[in-house]
Symmetry: C2
Subunit: 309 residues, 2 copies
């Protein structure tokens, strides 16, 4: 079960951290932009090239201290074809360095369409008598609004190819209250119902650590809700965004960790990859942006470990 591999890496590295690879052009090191734009012009292809070089350096400097990275596909997709190419290369490079990759794609669609997404991202594509992989992430994030039949194709491919998914339950943004927090007739908010569905969907994919490869996204910015979900979803592993830049602190995560320190993996994106812009890490200089990122990961790790023990 893929979730076991993720948990083993978390234990081995003592690091429940996933680094979000969400590159933004205005935050790229100036020397990197200048170099590429000068030779190749100010095109989406150039931006994709800058993003890939940036990601590679980050990966090279963190692959031995975190179990996983999470590229957010929107940041690549906005560049069109060149961006998708960069995304796929980033996934592949991260895997080549032993990292697990969570593709943050948040797809959701009716069954026949979900099958296509699943084939492309975590399954296989059959062309007559040949077999191909397109994106080949380890895990992907999935939107549950369209219900079971919109998720079941992913479940099948998780079984077949040893992959995993993270289903949105309670997201970290302010607007998550608009629909996810609506109270249902039985008094529970929607996200609790979605949580129950996710637990149920994951029953057939529980691994040796007692967690399913069907996981949930639960924001760090709502600690009380997170604690309740943790209690009610004992077999569901959580991906927790919202730490750092979005306002979540280690203290907010305390009740989402189990007593053995397992149960969640915490994402930080800008807080790591853009550390070299922050006061704290400015001394690294922009040429050493990737070393600054490593230092930020080590600081985050210390911060998290302080509430886990």
């Amino acid at each position: 079960m893929l979730i076991d591999k993720l948990i083993s890496r978390i234990i081995d590295l003592d690091s429940p951290i996933v680094v979000g690879l969400d590159p933004r052009l205005d935050k790229m090191p100036q020397y990197l932009k200048d170099k590429v734009f000068l030779v190749r012009g100010k095109t989406p292809e150039s931006v994709a090239r800058i993003f890939y070089r940036f990601n590679k350096a980050i990966i090279d400097n963190i692959y031995d201290i975190v179990p996983a990275v999470k590229p957010q596909i929107a940041l690549y997709e906005q560049l069109g074809v060149a961006g998708i190419d960069c995304y796929i290369k980033t996934v592949s490079y991260a895997k080549s360095r032993g990292l697990l990759v969570i593709g943050d794609i948040k797809r959701g669609d009716i069954a026949a369409t979900a099958e296509a997404y699943s084939r492309g991202h975590i399954g296989r594509l059959t062309i007559e008598d040949t077999i191909h992989k397109a994106f080949d992430e380890d895990f992907i994030t999935v939107n549950p609004y369209m219900g079971y039949d919109s998720v079941s194709p992913y479940l099948d491919d998780c079984q077949k190819y040893g992959k995993g998914i993270f289903v949105l339950v309670k997201t970290s943004n302010k607007g998550s209250k608009d629909i996810q927090d609506l109270a249902t007739a039985d008094g529970l908010p929607i996200y609790r119902h979605v949580g129950n569905l996710v637990s149920e969907w994951g029953n057939g994919l529980i691994g040796e650590h007692g967690f399913s490869s069907v996981c949930a996204v639960v924001g760090a910015t709502f600690p009380e809700e997170g604690a309740v979900l943790r209690q009610n979803m004992p077999h569901t592993f959580f991906l927790v965004p919202g730490y750092g830049a979005q306002g979540g602190t280690a203290n907010d995560l305390k009740d989402m960790f189990n007593s053995d320190g397992l149960g969640i993996i915490v994402n930080s994106s800008r807080g790591i990859t853009e550390a070299f812009h922050m006061e704290e890490y400015k001394s690294f200089g922009e040429n050493n942006f990737a070393q600054a990122a490593r230092e930020a990961v080590l600081d985050m790790r210390r911060d998290l470990l302080s509430v886990m023990r």
Copy 2:
């Protein structure tokens, strides 16, 4: 307002129809597959080439009898980079023939990420002092599960660039009941709340026909729910999937049309593009797949007009 352009075209052509461009390899004409595979091998690039030729022929044969096409990005994305390239070329070719394009992408994410999706699909991408467009659909479909701040970036770009969105409210699949139908404390199902939110979000974008460029997706497979939503969302235009292959009939749509015949645009994908495989249109032969599609559109039009009058 873009919605006015869509409605004008529907009125001019007397055709509230959008053709879904959802190519499936096993349904492509054999002669087309043979030709491309022979020269270029069985690769994702070849499949993308087959899909594009297929789409072009369909577009050439329907552009004067429907106002819009709706490519489903999942069917392209599963091919990786080559598929995205084919999707973008399909969008561009359809627009060059005067069709409006609804990109069926069902994206949804937190604000900063939604901004990237919006920039790439309906907005503009700024690279230093240059401006670029990546996908450039007219409308896109959007998933509301993450709430207002996950939708607002699209609203801004709709204003700025004269674009539109269709937000998922009550989808056509069976699993739509799992979350969308959950009853809330006030007795209304979730999808009614989402409907109310969509109406509200669209208030600033209402055009001269009384409809907003912020539209809704409401499945043909739930006629009663659709009729109630129609009553409660007088300024919201509906994209209605589920007609034909998924089981929805013209009769199911009766109460979703306003008395003036406006208010919805009905999607058919396989029922049109794969008509040449059906008993009814088999006589066209696979070489004339696009003429069969045209005939299927004309039959669908007759069918819809019979309940609109």
